[in-house]
Every structure is written in C-alpha cells, then in structure tokens.
C-alpha cells in the first residue's frame, strides 16, 4: 500500500484547513432575519378575491381589515365599498382603491396597516413627531405601503390625516 502515507498526509493537511475555513465562514454563511411579518393574526385577502363598487370591488367590513383570520379563502371580499366606515376609508375606497386593495392582498402590508393603526392610537393627539414616525414606519415597510401612502397623500391627505 504505497499510497497510505500520502493519504494520511492529505487528510492531515486538509482537516485543519476545513476547520479554519468553517470557523471563518460562520458569519459569511449565517444570515440574520427580523421578526416574522405574518404574525399579526390577520390573513391577507386572496389575490383576485377582492371586488368593490369603486374601482372594481364588492363588499367588505367597515373596518380597514376586510379579511380577518380565515376569510382569505372566501370567494369575494370587498375592500372598496361606497360606505367603507369612515371618512378616510370612504375617500381611499373612492380614489385609491387599487393601492388599498394591493395592501389588503399583501400579507405583510395588511399587518403593517394594523401596526399603523395601533401606533396612531397610542400617539397623543397633537404629537406631530409621533404621528410622523407612525406613518414613516408604515411607508418604509415596503413598496406596497409606500404606494398606498402616496395615493392617500394625493387624494385623501386630510381625511386620512397623512402628514
């Protein structure tokens, strides 16, 4: 077995190299993640399931969340209704139905929307910086959120209280 010493030599040379490489590579191959974005307990509206009077949608609850947990499988969910429940909802339903629907069809955006409502409720009236922070956090959460805010700023800034 002439090759045995050579095999031992190779194994001895490679084993420490692998250990060093794996130790050095830990950070390189160990990505980090933030919190689960789907943990708000509200399911997104199934794509294509939304309909309404304004811009092509049908019925919804009067609250902003047309789909509570489990309703994403329902055949039709109304996101943009003539009487959506409040001045902001009505304005957005009329002028920003597309971006509103996109948010409710997005599992991340619908949770971010809930977080925005919680944030605004927790902020004292007149605390402009706090209100700004709530909207900024929502807007920076993603492009769907940003497009929704952009439309609200254009058409419904007053009714929705967008800074």
């Amino acid at each position: 077995m002439r090759a045995r010493p050579a095999i031992h030599c190779v194994v001895r040379a490679i084993a420490p190299a692998l250990l060093v490489a794996s130790a050095a590579g830990c950070d390189v191959l160990d990505p980090k993640v933030g919190l689960l974005q789907e943990s708000c307990g509200v399911d997104a509206v199934a794509p294509g399931a939304a309909s309404g009077e304004y811009g092509g949608a049908g019925t919804t609850t009067s609250s902003a969340y047309g789909a509570s947990s489990g309703t994403s499988t329902s055949s039709t969910v109304t996101v943009c209704a003539p009487d959506a429940g409040g001045t902001c909802d009505e304005c957005e339903s009329q002028f920003c139905c597309t971006t509103r629907t996109a948010c409710y069809e997005d599992p991340v955006c619908i949770c971010a929307d809930q977080a925005l409502e919680r944030c605004l409720k927790a902020t004292a009236p007149g605390d402009d910086s706090g209100i700004d922070a709530c909207w900024d956090a929502f807007e920076e959460n993603g492009t769907v959120e940003a497009e929704r805010v952009a439309c609200e700023k254009t058409w419904c800034q007053g009714p929705c209280g967008v800074p």
Binding site: A3, R4, I14, P31, K32, G34, A44
Partner: protein, 404 residues
C-alpha cells in the same frame, strides 16, 4: 454576431468537422465517437397530497419522465477535439455541450464553447446512464425533488451548461497520484425576470434564453487530487468554487463552494459531497419577505446541500445503493415565486431554517451491459408541514435506462 448565432455557428462547425472527418479516407474509427443514452422513469409519491397537480409550485414531477441524450465526440487532430451533446428532458431539447478542446499537453487544455464548467464530482456522472438512481442527489437536483417550488431546486441543479471558456489540465505524480485543475469564466446564472430578485431563476438557463442581459461572466475553479493504491483502490478529494452576479445590474452576487470525496475499494464505492450557495437578495422591498429585514447580514441566504452514498455490486448484474442526502436553507424567505415577475405574493411555507432529509435505497439490475432496470424507494422528511399538515413523504421510482 449574437451569442445564439455564434453558438449555432459553433454547432454547425463541429458537426461539419465531424462529418468531414468521417468521410476522409485516412480517418480511423477512433477519430470520432457517437454515444447516447435514454432513461424512462416513473415516479410515484405515496402520499399524493403534497403533489396534487404536478408540475406546479410546491409539488414535484410525478408520473413518467424521460431523459435522453445524443453525443458526438471527434478528435480533429492530436491537439484539437470537439464535443456536441444534445439532450431531451423535462423542458424539451437542450444543448448540453458544444465545445472545442485545444490541448497543448496534459497539463494545459483550453475549452471554449458551451459546457458545464468543472464543479464538484457528481456533474461528471449526471447522465442517468452513469448513476444507479433514477434521480440526482438533492444538492444537484433539477426538478425531481418533492416541494421543488418551495426550495427552487437544489444548490446547483445539474447539468448547468454555460457559454464560456475553461482552462484545465491533469498532472500525474508518478503512478500513485493525479492532480486535476480547472479555471473558467462563463455566462453564469441569472434572474432578469423578477422585479426584486431573491434567487437564481434556473428557467432562464434553458432554451431559448441563451442571450443574457447580465454582461458580467461568472468565474470559478476546481482542484482535485486522486490517490491510487494499486488497481483495486483509489481516493479522490476535490474542492470547487463559483462566483458571479445574477441580476441585470450586476449588484447581487452568488457564491457556490463545494467539497467532494470519493473512495473506491475493489467494487465498493463511497461518495460524499457538500455544497453551499450564498445568495444575495434584493431587499429593497421588505414587503415580499416573510421576515423583517435584519439590518446586518439580512440581505442573503445560504443553501447547504450534501449527500453520502455507498454503491455495492452484489453480482455482475445487480447493484445496491444506499444514499442519504439533504438540504438546509437558512435566511429570510421571499413570498414571491422565483421567475413570476413579482406580481403575486403567496406566503412561502419555508421558515428561516428549513431542512429536508432524504434516505434512498436503490437497486439496479442490468439485463444486458447497456440496459439496466432501476428501482428505488425514498423517505422524505421535512422540518415544516405542507398545506395539508404533512412533513413526511414516501416515494418510489421505477425506470429503465439504456446506453450505446
């Protein structure tokens, strides 16, 4: 001249040279070689619930699949040879090889054209006539795995033909050792479809999408050392790496590294291989991810894959193979299916540390030297449940493969 026209020209040139060589009065039979193989396989998933409408996202290919290939190899001179291989698989006809080898001596060979760059050990055996199982190990899986849509295939689906150039060679150290090396630049992988690319789109590597909008080539290398202990035993250790960008802006990188080990003692073969792909993701739209983007080290994922297999001939015609392989993916998860363009967001079932382990027992019986029956049973264990709550599946393969 576009890349596709150049490729067609090279193909015609090779075929023409092969035919001319065959017609020349002085040509011998050794100057050219015509080979082929075909495998018909039936895949049955016992549970069925996880694969209700294959092929589709999160499912697998059930039923019959066919893989066939025809190859022409021609030695045009003492220093020049050419290879052309056309294969047919689940996505139609594909040009697997069309390249020239210009060999100065054993230690220096220039390969140009379309070929699978040197990476890992399995790719050399990727033809179904060259391995005992019906499917490939999970790190190299190309569409046969369960829940392939969840995982977007394996680490490096094999084969992976690319357009490029490679320098390779072999140096013999006495009669006991062989050193192989290869270094290459090639088109690499890409994702030109998705608005926010988060993974390689392997569909774009198929015909007719040879022209790439990603102008930066991928590069890589392989080193391997084979030690021989007489004619009955040998051992090979190899290391491979590939790096490139995959988006049109050349900003998102991927890096694949791997190590392989093979030991043959008489007729027993033991093989093991490990691959990992570090994949940078476009995180400019946090909406599409299952998890919030971590401020540090949050813009990539790592997909690990490995297999260990033991192949043991029982008789001259009957072989048994045992294999354990798996995948482990760590990192954020996009809710947009790769290649969908990004219009539809559907929650991915994967979590930040998703794992899959498979155990395979395969039998192969050769009715004749070039015709073999293959059968295998596979136990799949996932660390996450599918929509029906299943995390374990059992599947069976029965196929036949022939070669000439």
């Amino acid at each position: 001249m576009t890349a596709s026209r150049a490729l067609l020209f090279a193909l015609l040139l090779v075929v023409g040279l092969a035919l001319a060589n065959g017609r020349s009065a002085g040509a011998s039979e050794e100057d050219r070689n015509f080979a082929g193989s075909a495998q018909l396989d039936y895949h049955l998933v016992a549970g069925g619930a996880g694969a209700p409408a294959a092929p589709a996202p999160s499912t697998t290919f059930e039923g019959f699949t066919l893989e066939a290939a025809l190859k022409v190899a021609a030695d045009l001179s003492d220093h020049l040879s050419a290879n052309v291989k056309v294969c047919y698989g689940c996505h139609g006809f594909e040009l697997d090889m069309a390249y020239f080898d210009l060999r100065a001596f054993d230690e220096l060979n220039l390969r140009v054209g379309r070929f699978s760059p040197s990476f890992g050990a399995f790719n050399l055996r990727h033809d179904p006539a060259n391995h005992m199982t019906s499917d490939k190990p999970l790190p190299y899986d190309m569409g046969r795995m369960l829940r392939k849509g969840d995982w977007n295939e394996g680490v490096l689906p094999s084969p992976f033909p690319m357009n490029g150039a490679e320098i390779n060679g072999t140096h013999w150290i006495g009669g006991v050792a062989q050193f192989d090396y290869a270094a290459y630049v090639a088109t690499g992988f890409k994702n030109d479809v998705d608005a926010n690319p988060t993974d390689l789109d392997f569909q774009e590597s198929h015909l007719p999408y040879y022209v790439t909008s990603d102008p930066r080539p991928a590069s890589g290398a392989r080193l391997a050392l084979t030690l021989k202990a007489g004619s009955d035993a040998d051992m090979t250790l190899g290391a491979s790496g590939m790096w490139g960008t995959y988006d049109p802006a050349n900003k998102l990188t991927y890096a694949i590294v791997g190590g392989d080990f093979a030991l043959r003692i008489e007729r027993t073969a033991i093989r093991m291989e490990y691959l990992v792909r570090r994949q940078q993701m476009d995180v400019s739209n946090p909406d599409i991810f299952r998890y919030a983007i971590a401020p540090v080290d949050g813009d990539f994922f790592a997909k690990h894959g490995a297999y260990v297999e033991v192949e043991q001939p029982v008789t001259d015609a009957f072989d048994v193979l045992g294999r354990v392989d798996g995948l482990f993916r760590v990192g954020n998860v996009s809710n947009v299916s790769v290649g969908s363009g990004g219009d539809t967001i559907v929650a991915s079932p994967l979590h930040e540390r998703a794992a899959l382990l498979r155990e395979t027992l395969a039998l192969a019986y050769a009715f004749e030297r070039n015709f073999r029956l293959k059968g295998s049973v596979e136990l799949w264990e996932f660390n996450y449940a599918d929509s029906t709550g299943r995390d374990t599946e059992l599947s069976f393969h029965l196929g036949a493969v022939g070669s000439f």
